[in-house]
Homo-oligomer: 250 residues x 4
């Protein structure tokens, strides 16, 4: 094969990871968040970037009994032998509805950085009655506190760059187009911050996946200790009743 | 590599599948159930076996809003772009609690076929207060109607052999040991019937996986058309409240 | 909750499945393929449709050591405790590249049925140098024998309707636009046939998922009996060498 | 429902996570590794424990083209729309063969901490010709450098306790029973260190899952940029040939 990998090589006495010795340069010297950045982006982050990657992973990890958490906990109910299967089941729901807004927001920010007018982008979406990815949240009103915290931290660390600036100008434009305040949500903030750290838009979702994996392990552990899903299952069977369909004819 | 596969070879004008031409011998000539049997066991089933494999797949496919169905539907809620991901999430719960009883029951039946005494097997489990895999069902009392139907069909088709006989002798022993009637459940009946068709115990679970995949596709379709999981999610958040833990100290 | 399900209700002595008694009307009376159709479409198929759904499931189940099969077999290598996990891993690859062409082709056929001109559809794709979903196959040249077989069967069963006719007119247009023959491939044929059976385009992929699950169970079984993936893994490590990246600097 | 959760509650202006304010106490104050510990164990780790959890996550994340990495990369080849599906497919292989040795080793260490004799444990396994979980590695000989590095770090941080001591006494006993040196491998070291940090054995695997998720995101990114799996797939098809089985007869 003519293919190569630039990720890792296993030797008897070490593992090379993107040009670094795992055993002498990474373990004990680099945080897990920085290692994730290294693996995906190909270089170690500078300290301020490392702090922000870490903060983004912390911000997304846990949000209560989400559909993902329920899926993971339902799975461990039927397959207690497979912690990895339960976490995987939960991660499968980290998709377009949730993580996709991160990518959609990143695309808008990239357009603005390239010169597009935020007011036009917001206005055309408003006219089409379509949501703006990265804006609005059903539970966090008027503002998503995670987004506010992350953006303040990014400013403090000097990480905020053209994408964060684009997000803020888009926010003004969105509020104008809607005639009321829509919050920048956590996926919008993370999209801007990680883009300012040079994370490619196509793999942004991977950061959500790693982050949410931590939350799911916590839920699987709670379900092992203090099962709640059998009760929810019975509740679903009782409260989502069967409606007899018109009898099918061939 | 010195490895070989005995499953399939792709040619420009056909696919060979375990010695059969896919295009001239299988498509249009063989049922999907029989093809599954061919792929797993290595030969086409005789007609009575084919009928029973089909009946077993039909019997297990659907059982309402199970944890698997809820996991699949929660997943499509977050990741509508990935029907395959939602079905996969549901299948990940087809594990030890459910499908494992099939394998556990098959192991007991194999022991009985090899000469073990059903009364001893049942008595020792009763003494240990451990359940007998393949027996009992929380909803189907006094009898699991799917098991009864499958066993009657297996008799009618002449498929019932030593494993079905072992299951029936075990049933008598279980009722004796417990001092009351425990139903043979659907996984017990399927374990006996598929073992009498020469399906190895280690892959029995694969038949449950294929069968349940059909049910899950139905649930994903219903969730696409008539979403129910957002309401269940809200219900879970409301009715499984957060209990503030004692504050963690470092 | 105000939600309902129209799929199933579990009673002590039966399971109702879309208006049918599982135990007296479905087990032993209906094929697994027809049950899948019932679950997804909401009615039992007529006999010719049932035959074609079955034939489509048979046609797609197995195609050798595909990426899906390799993923499933690699997974059982690391997690032999979880047959369901290995099958799920394989199904996760039944995505846009493969199953998506089914949906893309269905969309084109729906347009043609609604009055669009096949020559225009083919021509604009040719001009854009983009492939036509449902056409072409790297291994099956000049024709995908599975597609030819399925379409002949659909004609013989009288199932071929407006979507199959649209596929054929599109095929003529594609050959014209490309100036050479491109085969109708198996996903194109299945898209047309299942659309003529009233399967909604949004859930077409679910049929691929169920079908491929059977193939994957076969591969997992072979890997249990005759492991091949450790050798392929070693091969991958040896033949996809590590290329030291330029050393990352912070 | 009488069930509760002790993980999180979502309020409009914050998220409570195990008694901590996500926005004012965790984001920007706690590392992602420490958050994982909090979510699973229920309290924030002390600084030395936090350093070791982080080091363990770094040590396990990446090991080249493992079966998991191949499964993830094969999956994104077929389903590029679903980064989460590819990572999930890879995680499904983090099972008994790999992560299970962590749990098996933890069980042995718990026995030794409770008073069992390491020489007896090692001797009985040697007599049964069964491996000792946490010992031996096909590539890292004579010693797994990751294990050595982690154990030295745990000593330096004062985290090494009764489980690390048990691992070392078991290592002496293993070498004695085998009559040659077997390395403590990375899963053995992590099992001992995380048990000394009070991580329950039943959820140890969850740490491997989060760690490996980072490696898999890196592989998915590389496959997006520089695809290698199509070549490996072709190689598999060519080098694992089809062996025609004896023709099946009904």
């Amino acid at each position: 094969l003519s293919e190569v990998t630039r990720i890792a090589r296993v030797d008897a006495d070490d593992v090379s990871v993107r040009g670094h010795s795992l055993c002498t340069e990474l373990i004990g010297h680099t945080s897990f968040s920085s290692l994730l950045f290294l693996l995906v982006v190909g270089r170690l982050p500078a300290a301020p970037q490392a702090a922000m990657v870490d903060a983004c992973l912390v911000a997304l990890a846990e949000h209560g009994l989400t559909p993902s958490a329920i899926a993971a906990r339902m799975t461990v109910t039927g397959a207690p032998e497979s912690v990895q299967g339960a976490v995987a089941a939960g991660l499968l729901g980290v998709g377009d509805v949730f993580a996709g807004t991160m990518e959609g927001c990143a695309a808008l920010l990239d357009e603005i950085v390239a010169g597009a007018d935020p007011a036009e982008l917001a206005g055309s979406r408003r006219a089409a009655r379509s949501p703006v990815p990265g804006f609005g949240h059903p539970q966090h009103k008027p503002d998503d506190p995670r987004a506010a915290r992350l953006l303040a931290l990014a400013d403090a660390h000097g990480v905020s760059g053209r994408h964060v600036a684009a997000l803020r100008s888009l926010s003004v434009a969105v509020d104008g187009a809607w005639g009321r305040h829509l919050t920048i949500n956590v996926t919008g903030a993370i999209a801007a911050i990680l883009r300012d750290c040079d994370v490619p838009a196509e793999i942004l979702r991977g950061f959500a996946v790693v982050s949410r994996a931590a939350g799911l392990v916590g839920h699987v552990r709670e379900e092992q200790e203090r099962p709640a899903m059998r009760a929810l299952w019975e509740r679903a069977e009782r409260e989502i009743p069967y409606e007899e369909p018109e009898r099918s004819r061939k």
